[in-house]
Symmetry: C2
Subunit: 376 residues, 2 copies
Amino acid sequence: MSGRRDFIKKTGLITGASMVLGSDKLFADAREASAGKGRLKLSFKPYTLNLRHAFNLSTSSRTTTPVVLTEINYNGIVGYGEASMPPYLGESHETVLKFLSKVDLSGFDDPFEMENILNYVDAIEDGNRAAKASVDIALHDLVGKIIKQPWYRIWGYDPSKTPDTSYTIGIDTPEVIRQKVKEADPYKILKVKLGRDTDKQMIETIREITDKPICVDVNQGWKDRQHALDMAHWLHEKGVVFLEQPMPKEQVDDNAWVTERSPIPTMGDEAVQRLDDVLKAYKVYSGINIKLMKCTGMREAHEMLTLGRALGMKIMIGCMTETSCAISAAAQLAPMTDWADLDGALLISNDVFKGTTVVDGKVTLNTLPGIGAVKI
Amino acid sequence: MSGRRDFIKKTGLITGASMVLGSDKLFADAREASAGKGRLKLSFKPYTLNLRHAFNLSTSSRTTTPVVLTEINYNGIVGYGEASMPPYLGESHETVLKFLSKVDLSGFDDPFEMENILNYVDAIEDGNRAAKASVDIALHDLVGKIIKQPWYRIWGYDPSKTPDTSYTIGIDTPEVIRQKVKEADPYKILKVKLGRDTDKQMIETIREITDKPICVDVNQGWKDRQHALDMAHWLHEKGVVFLEQPMPKEQVDDNAWVTERSPIPTMGDEAVQRLDDVLKAYKVYSGINIKLMKCTGMREAHEMLTLGRALGMKIMIGCMTETSCAISAAAQLAPMTDWADLDGALLISNDVFKGTTVVDGKVTLNTLPGIGAVKI
C-alpha cells in the first residue's frame, strides 16, 4: 500500500490518470455501467486540515479546518466528495456526520438522475450546505467518471479560459504579510482580507513590495457606507480590482449605495449563499462569489453561474480551506468566471488529493474525468 | 439501401438504437474519440415539410414549412440537426443556406468546446436563429453520441417527469375543429389558437365534444387589455389552463397588467426569443415558452430554462412544425418544464426521423444518445 502510494507520488498525476482510466476499462461502457442494477453507496469520514499559516479574518482566527471526505460507490466506480466546515458557517464534524448518516441513496439505482438525487438530499433538512455539497461533488465525480469526461467538458467550457487565481493574505503583522507576499510569487493577483483598523497599512505594506493587482475582501467588516465608499476610491487608486462584501449583508441598501458609486466592482459573498440569493444580489452587488460549500455543490453552482451571467453580473468562484478534491470540483466552473479564488488547498499542509493545479498563477484544469482529482 | 431502410422501418426504433450503439463501438471510447485530430464537418440540405392540415394562425395560413437538415461529422460519428423556418419568423431556405455556408467549423478540433463553437456561430451574423439552432442541435447530438448518453441524462433530468404534451388546433371552421379534436384523442391537453372574432365559438365547439384542459395561444391577437382580461376570466371558467402571448409583445405594460390580474398564468412567446428576453419577461408574463428555433438551440434553451426557473416562472417547451429531429432535441428539456407543446412532427406527413414519441399524451423520451433521433 505505501509502496503503491510512493509510486504514485513519484510518477505524479499522469500515472494517476491512467490508473483511473485503466480501471474504467473494466466497465464495458457508460450505458452498461449506468443502466444496470447498481446501487449508490455513500461512505464518509472526518478529517482535519492543518493550515500552513493561522488564518485571520475580521471576526476569527484558526489553525485547522475540519472537513469530511465522502465517496459514492456505484458498480465499483468511486466518486469523491468533500465538505469543508470553517466554524463561522455553523457546520462541524458533528453536524456533517449526523446529516450524512441520514442520507440513504439505496433508493436510487441511476446516478444520472442528479436532479432527483440532489433534490432528495436537499430536502432532508435545512442548512447543512457543506454536507450537501459533499454528496453533490461525489455524485458529479461518479457521473463524470462513468461518461469518462471532466465536468468542464460536459458543460462545454474551454479549459484555456480559466482566470488567474488569487492568493489570499490574511490580516497580520507587516512581517508576516511581507513573508506571505513572497510566498505568493507564482500568483498574479493577491487577495487581501480587510475590515480592521489596519486596512490602509496592509495595502501600503504590500505596495512596498509589489504592484500586482489586489482583490480586497472585507468580510462585512465596514459598517459605515461613506467609509466604505471612501475606501473603495482609495483602494481603486492603489490598484485594487474589486471589493468583496464591503458591509454586513443585512445592510442591503448600504451595499447597493456603495455599489452604485464605487469605481471598482463589488462582489457579494456572505450575502450570496444559494441560487435564491443571486436575484436578491442583483443591483446590490456588481457580482457574486460562488462557493460550493455555500451553495450545496456543483449543480447549484452551475445554475448560479448561468443566472449571474444572464443578469450581467461578474462571477467569481471561491473556496474555503479545502483539499484538492473540492478545489478541483470548483475549478470545473472556472472557465466561465471573471475571477477565481481557488487557493484553498495551497493553504494546507496535509492535502490528500492531487487535482487542479496552479501553473504560473493560473487555474490549470487537467483531463481527468469527473472532478479531476485523484487520491494521493 | 432501400432494403436497409425497409428493415429499419419494420423493426423500428429499438433496432435503430442498437445500430447507433453498434457503430459507436468502432470508436474506442469517448476520450480517444474526442481527443484526436478530428475535424468538425458541417453539411446541410433543404427539405420541405408537408402539413397534414393547413395551419391557420391569427396572421397567416400555410400548407408547408421549409426546413434545412444538418449534419456534423466528427471522426465518423454524425450528429443531426435541423432548422425550421415558419415564414412569419423571417428565415427561409435561402437565408439559412446562406448562413450555414458561412459557418466554418474546420478551426475546431474538439466538439466538447460547445461554448466556443456556438459563440463563434452566434457571432457570424445577427438573427438567423433557426440556422444557428441547426448547428447547435447537430453539435449536441454529436457530443451526446460521443459520450453515449442522451442529453436529459447529461443534464441530470428524470425522463419520467415529462409533462403531457398538447395537440394544436388552429383557427378553423367548426367542422374541421371537430375533426381535429377527434384526432387529438391520445392527447390529454388541447392547444387552441385564438385571436380572431371566432374565439368564443372555437372554445364552445371544443367544449361540446370534450372536457379536456385547453391551453390558449393568442399569438398577439388581442389589442385591448380589458378585452384580454375579460377573455382570461371567461376562458378560466371554460377550463383553460394558461394564456399564451395575449397581446402584442410591444404592449409590455398591457401584458403585465393582464398578467397581474389574470386568474390563469400568462406565457410569453413572441416576446421571449433568447436568453436576454427572459429577464425582460419577468413580471410581464407568468412564464416563458422556449423554442429551439427562437433561441438558437439547446444550449441557450437550457440556460433560459435555468434562468426562468430561478425567477420562479412557469416553463413551457414549444416547437415549430419540425421533423422528429428538432422535436426530439427539444424533448430533452421536457422533464424540467411545466408544459410541453411538442406536436410539431405529428402535424407533418413526411417526417424523416424517428425519435421522441407521444405515448398516452405524454412526451416519452427514449434512451438513444444525443438528441434521441434516428434517420428513417
